[in-house]
């Protein structure tokens, strides 16, 4: 699909969703409060752990807070873009409403992914990045230009990896019709991304790097920002993101094929 048309579509989605969201005044307040609350909870949890230790997986308290900021920023992306759109997919497969999507003259995966935007959750991204910035300040570390660039690349890669994981999970909805709450599983496992991957024992570490690659989503970008990661390695992250996306897309197409064959 050509870019200008996609931009136009995105604009249309944005306009529709903003107008809709502004209707509910409580949504705005609740959204911000909710984010602040969950960030406070996360900081408290971290404080609890650091009540009993000085490092976690070799990371200091404020380093992990940087990671927490990245986690929140990514959560913002998930809540703003992914969950509203892809989250509905399983229900639509079950009810057959997906057919309404498939007859539209746009790429189904793109449509499903971006059709609904919970724009208030962008505040999560802002708050998350702010937290990361504050933590850097407390660390006394100002990221160099290569580090910032690496952060940008790895953060974008992280978003792509998260997106790919979601697409894979949602594609499962075509095989297991009753997995509407598969998003729940994502939430549970993604909790593991709150901490640096080095904090986990070996087996879990393996899972989080190679199987359910959430380590690439928070640990790597945070490492880039704090200087733990050599900036060149950001390209590896981009490669991982590309692979993840390709895999997810392939799975999606297989799922659609099955759906088109199966439904009456």
């Amino acid at each position: 699909m050509r870019a200008p048309r996609w931009l136009g579509l995105l604009g249309a989605f944005l306009r529709l969703n903003i107008a809709e969201e502004l209707q509910y005044r409580a949504n705005f307040v609740a959204s911000v409060l909710g984010t602040l609350f969950s960030m406070a909870t996360a900081l408290l949890t971290l404080a609890l752990f650091f009540h009993h230790t000085t490092t976690l997986g070799g990371w200091d308290y404020w380093e992990i807070v940087v990671l927490l900021g990245v986690f929140n920023a990514l959560t913002g992306v998930i809540e703003a873009v992914l969950r509203p759109g892809i989250g509905q997919l399983a229900g639509e497969v079950r009810s057959g409403e997906l057919d309404l999507v498939l007859v539209k003259p746009v790429d189904a995966q793109g449509f499903v992914s971006f059709r609904r935007l919970d724009i208030w959750r962008i505040t999560d991204v802002v708050l998350g990045l702010a937290l990361a910035g504050y933590a850097l300040f407390r660390l006394g570390h100002t990221p160099s230009l290569p580090q910032l660039a690496a952060f940008g690349v790895t953060l974008a890669a992280a978003a792509v990896v998260v997106y790919a994981i979601w697409v894979v999970l949602m594609s499962l909805a075509f095989w297991f019709v009753s997995v509407e709450n598969i998003a729940v599983l994502f939430d549970a496992v993604y909790e593991g991304a709150r901490y640096p991957v080095s904090a986990y024992p070996g087996a879990l570490r393996f899972v989080f790097v190679y199987l359910i690659p959430i380590a690439w989503t928070t640990t790597i970008p945070a490492s880039a920002l704090t200087g733990r990661l050599r900036p060149e390695l950001a390209l590896v992250a981009a490669l991982v993101a590309g692979l993840a996306f390709a895999f997810a897309r392939a799975l999606w197409r297989a799922a659609l094929k099955r759906y088109a064959g199966a439904s009456g």
Partner: protein, 264 residues
């Protein structure tokens, strides 16, 4: 009444059967949270101990949390919120049966199914991993069962009552999330209460949070010493159960009144 419950439970059981994959997901969610917490505390404890908890103690604690949380958790707030918002409460109100009975029956069916899975998993893991084994003490287990029952009942009424808030606000789910966030600490989901700052642990004990989960878990793992402590814990559970039943009745009568005024 027994026949009605038998029919309701049977119905719920059959519906659950249809949602096998869904339930597996919820199960996995119920397991990942304690697993991640265990992972972190495992790393922190190292070869020593934290506030009296060594690695094995953490392992036993969090397995107990897995089992007992599954036995006591109640999702009714979410269902009720949806029933009220989507008009599914109407036909239930037109029947000569209080909707709470249906919710209770669903809890029984769901918990019987999921808790038995966790129990089997625990037994299997215990066969390979001595750290998670519990000494065979039928007396202790019997008392724990009572505490679990009280906790489950109380959490049901908490959940149902917060769900009834949907009569007044569209943000009932936010309030539920708030409660869940607080209980992450105060109910002992993220760490044994002994690891919290004493003041915080005190609040958990004074309020209903300890009665929700931490107390039955401590009972099972042998962290409650002396008949006195056991009795006081059970008494606290009874008191809070009473409080929440009263809250439920108040919320129901007021809520129904409001529903009759403003409709679905």
């Amino acid at each position: 009444m027994i026949e009605r419950y038998a029919a309701l439970i049977r119905n719920a059981w059959l519906v659950d059967l249809q949602y096998r994959a869904s339930i597996v997901l919820w199960l996995l969610w119920g397991v990942t949270e304690p697993a991640i917490a265990l992972g972190i505390w495992w790393a922190i404890a190292g070869d020593g101990s934290v506030a009296g908890y060594a690695r094995a103690d953490f392992a036993r604690y969090f397995f107990a949390v897995m089992l007992i949380n599954q036995l006591t958790i109640a999702w009714d707030s979410w269902y009720l919120d949806r029933w009220i918002r989507e008009g599914d409460l109407n036909y239930r109100l037109a029947r000569p049966l209080h909707p709470a009975h249906e919710a209770v029956a669903e809890n029984i069916a769901y918990k019987a199914r999921t808790a038995s899975v966790i129990l089997v998993v625990w037994l299997l893991v215990a066969a390979a991993w001595p750290a998670v084994r519990l000494p065979f003490e039928p007396g202790r287990w019997a008392i724990t069962a009572v505490a679990v029952l009280l906790a489950a009942a109380m959490r049901f009424f908490i959940s149902f009552t917060t769900g009834l808030l949907a009569f007044w606000t569209t943000r009932a789910t936010s309030i539920m999330e708030l409660h869940a966030g607080v209980s992450l600490f105060l109910a002992g989901r993220i760490a044994p209460l002994a690891l919290l700052p004493p003041a915080v642990a005190g609040v958990a004990g004074v309020l209903w949070f300890r009665s929700m989960l931490a107390f039955p878990v401590d009972l099972l793992t042998g962290a409650v010493h002396g008949t006195d402590a056991v009795l006081r814990g059970l008494a606290a559970q009874l008191v809070w159960l009473g409080v929440w039943i009263a809250a439920f009745r108040l919320a129901w009568s007021r809520g129904i009144r409001r529903y009759g005024a403003v409709g679905g």
